[in-house]
Symmetry: C2
Amino acid sequence: MTTPVIRVGVIGAGFVGSAFIGLLLDQQRHDALVDAATASLELVAVAVRDLEKDHPGIPRSLVTDDAAGLAASGDIDILVEVAGGLEPTRSYIESALSRGVSVVTANKALMAARGTALARLGHEHGADLFYEGAVGGAVPILRALRTSLAGERIERVMGIVNGTTNFILSQMTAEGSDYLTALAEAQGRGYAEADPTADVEGFDAAAKVLILASLAFGTELRDERIAREGITGIRAVDIEFAKRAGYVIKLLGVAERVGEHGLSRRVHPAMVPVDHPLAAVHGPMNAVFVEGAVSGPLMWLGEGAGGAPTATAVLGDVLDAARNRVSGRHDVPFMVDDTLERVPAGDLPSVFYLSLDVADEPGVLASVASVFGRHQVSIRSMEQFGVGNEARLSFLTHHALARDVEATVEDLAAIESVDSIGACIRVIDGGSA
Amino acid sequence: MTTPVIRVGVIGAGFVGSAFIGLLLDQQRHDALVDAATASLELVAVAVRDLEKDHPGIPRSLVTDDAAGLAASGDIDILVEVAGGLEPTRSYIESALSRGVSVVTANKALMAARGTALARLGHEHGADLFYEGAVGGAVPILRALRTSLAGERIERVMGIVNGTTNFILSQMTAEGSDYLTALAEAQGRGYAEADPTADVEGFDAAAKVLILASLAFGTELRDERIAREGITGIRAVDIEFAKRAGYVIKLLGVAERVGEHGLSRRVHPAMVPVDHPLAAVHGPMNAVFVEGAVSGPLMWLGEGAGGAPTATAVLGDVLDAARNRVSGRHDVPFMVDDTLERVPAGDLPSVFYLSLDVADEPGVLASVASVFGRHQVSIRSMEQFGVGNEARLSFLTHHALARDVEATVEDLAAIESVDSIGACIRVIDGGSA
């Protein structure tokens, strides 16, 4: 029996691209890849931005600067897109899929914006669209949602899906340092960009939540915005309070069913109980925690970023696409559940942590408490720190609607003896956050 | 386009079988299952041991006591075997596979003994053999090894793959209780059998290590025995020492490469650093930690046992087998790496913890230390507890060969002033255990 040949084109030769090409051309792994792909994988072209630049490990004869031509070529079976960006990348992927060429990408932004429509385009033309590398680096969560959990009713997905923020919060927890010190440390180690906005404000995590939700719940993706809070307001005192109370603060991306037809998708910091598996996800690691109706809790953990880990996810997808190609099939199409309705984050109940700096004078607590009461936010516990002129009040509420807590915070800010209001953080308590 | 029909026969209607049938017949999930299977799944027969017994949730007309006839029937596409046992179960599975019927099983003992040969038989006849439910309950680790990690060179797999022992060790850690008290608690809660031998002596974990190793490293399975130590010798004082030193004691199943062509497979308790992801696996949960050469560390966590969680793993396999059937293909065949040689556990270096009860008299430490020295076991640290006649010496060694540490323990036992020797436990230190 002759071994079929699967022809692979690659767009992008950055960290992920060159690591992927290294894996693909590794002679020591050649036989293992043939076994796993049920085919011989042949690298036929690599589209790069700058032909003049040196691309170590990539045969000169394969390098081209014509990405559009490669994507439109009838001469490849699988297109690997690791260049990133929305345009013209989208047009390359469309061009390949509409010719029946399977596409493997690690393009988080594009998949979060257009993944479901592109998957459908591929399905119409008998092509696969895989993007394991777009969420959680090496963590093989997307394939698990598509295959192992295909028959499961998923109730909730909670992920630590941004390594930068998890590193910063882990540093603050381990060292007692403040946000800016931990951010500088992250930047020094290459875990955070010079402009860290996309990470620390939760944009990156939000894109991943959109992708996870589409696979876990069948939500269509149409350039949506979801409720999003970052970590810039977390202070050392909040981390300290969490520790004393048996929690760790994590930035979570959450997608969960609400009632029979509701779905909430959001990103925010949360206090996670120390014995919860997500509490043990340290430094730049990523993890996705899934609650199935029958399977119970499941968690996947691994390196969330980096060229090599992401390249292994890309390679896994390429092997899958190659096997499909050889057996003349493509993957189960994306299934939309159009009965699901978006539930605004404000409509969801949670326990909240809230802390205020107040002037320590008679009557302060009474006026603060009356604001909570006015908004039906019931206080579970209160701690006062500090003496003299200044005091800090830290509250844990009973379950309250996020909207009511927000209104409480607004009204508290108007009280004269309240100097400042610190972070307002959801607390994971008996499952929900 | 008409929906293809995939005919499913089930052998076994115990906890897993009836939970699986419940999932299969759940009307609310019907459409989702058709989507995921790319077919309509039809339950055609359920073979039970006792026809007289009531089987709630299973249509009377489908119940039979002729398991052999069902397995040999040309009338099914997928056989689900959840009866357990080695014989005659093996003959049922052989009979189905050799007729080209795909088989899904949760039979850990049979897969550990014969899984690779049966997979090969299936491959010859165009049938799948899937057994996700055999390791880690709902944790979808086997499919990940077969698919997402198919292109990865795996260096090490370390699993907490027995919920009973993990519950017992978690209890001892949380409550400070001794082994027998924690065992009784586990039995009271239904986590341990009246005769707990298979769990506490590591037999169950050893079977799972064999299965994991066959998929991670391509080892052939031929009724092998592997090095195995249980948890019955772990004392409250060992747990306490571990805690003080920053470790948690876990029963680990390990399979790892040693050098270029060696493979070690073994089960033993180990001290796991508290910040290691495996340290946060509490109670009856299971987890498998995988180190890939390129992917870095990855971990899967979930409920390791129970009818419902295991049934979700079985269902995931049935959906996969159904999709393959519909597209006329079967899975990548099992690949043997026959270059791998078994490395005896004694040949492996590790840091060890060791503790002795000794008479507190002059010269004891010197004679103990000289025994370590004689066997080239170098001491990293020593603590002495207790005063008066009795003292306990607790040692951590530098990396030493397990064989040399065993010889040290034997010689120590011969010293008159050594009253007793407690647990001798490997310490995970910089990766290896």
